[in-house]
Point group: C2
Chain length 229, copies 2
């Protein structure tokens, strides 16, 4: 093996380091993009193999089959999102400010994770079949409900919130706007123009969602009359 005689053919990894987790992670990263872009049936294993450092062989080695890979992608994305949720602390804010902050944070979090949104859209197309099959996901979204519950209780005790304010309903209401904002951006823009999807439009929408939620929950709430932009 003289100094020049060694020609490793494929330079990128002349000799592979044993790093299964790195390989798995790389595959998952690429697969997430592929499935988010084209769906489960539209996603191509060969395309994932082409874009990853690993090979098609390794995809099947670690994830079994296409469904297994999709499931792993789904679980990974849900986990990532839970971590984000957990990071948000509003315990030291007064109830109204806390609720306001939770709504804004949810709206922004959705806007910042379009890949997640797309995967959830796709999963709904599959009637949540893979989500249901998952063992790690049920109860994963608990933390956001807990936070809303805490805020609601504090708000009610302070006599600021209506008695019928319900954490689960609130989560649904907040999520619906936040999710739709990302999921239906393209069809909505196509039908009605992109006024609501400019920076100003998005800021205004976010404010409206906050106003709606506060209006529903906070007794005697009057939205700040932000007039001209």
């Amino acid at each position: 093996m003289g100094d020049t005689s060694r020609k490793p053919a494929n330079t990128r990894k002349a000799h592979w380091k044993q790093n299964p987790d790195g390989v798995k992670e790389d595959i998952l990263r690429v697969a997430t993009e592929e499935f988010a872009a084209h769906g489960l049936s539209g996603g191509r294993i060969d395309e994932i193999a082409r874009k990853t450092e690993a090979s098609k062989r390794m995809i099947y080695y670690y994830f079994g089959d296409k469904d297994g890979l999709y499931q792993a992608v789904l679980e990974r994305v849900y986990s990532t999102l839970r971590e984000n949720e957990d990071a948000l602390k509003v315990g030291d804010l007064d109830p109204v400010a806390a609720l306001s902050r939770l709504v804004e944070a949810t709206f922004e979090a959705h806007a910042n994770t379009p890949l997640f949104i797309r995967l959830v859209m796709i999963e709904n197309i599959h009637n949540a079949a893979y989500l249901r099959r998952s063992e790690i996901i049920p109860g994963l979204n608990r933390s956001i409900i807990d936070k809303l519950d805490d805020v609601c209780q504090r708000g009610k005790e302070a006599g600021l919130f209506r008695a019928n304010a319900d954490p689960l309903e609130l989560h649904w209401l907040i999520s619906s706007s936040s999710f739709y904002n990302v999921s239906n951006k393209e069809t909505f823009s196509t039908s009605f123009g992109d006024t609501l999807y400019t920076a100003q439009g998005q800021a205004r929408l976010k404010q409206r969602v906050v106003d709606m939620i506060l209006g529903l929950v906070v007794i005697g709430y009057e939205p700040p009359l932000v007039v001209s932009e």
Copy 2:
């Protein structure tokens, strides 16, 4: 093989009537279900051919290719929906009742047309590429905006509505909850249980959405304190 010598083999159409529109419509009906169920890439032409009275040959004869069929499905569904929208009249209601009715009707219309919702979800996965390519769809959803605009103007003139109430924003807000309610039913139920998707839950959600919108628009609005269920 009985005494009756005439055995038409396939009884359903011993000799076909020339009825191109009927055939096209039949294909579209079946294709709508197929694409709504499995998406564009997941939908199978052979499966559509099997379920329709017509044959695979006729699908290509009338619609060219898979994309053409999908596009036709999309346009047909959007058109149907426009007709539904047009049918709704709220001109003779006072502004608050009219807005309330528009929200309820939108919520219900979405709940009643899951196939449409699924196709829009799928179209968003495709970044609205086919919707954009359509020549008949732009401006098709105009009528709902017109209705909201009319109601807003009447409400403002009567001094009932806030000055910044905006028809497009309102449509977005109303649609978001109505759409999400159907589109994300499966993942939401899986994560948080189906309390909100029982008959009572749905009625309550609908009421909440109405309350939110009225709270945002109607000056001094206080939601009716529907307490116990």
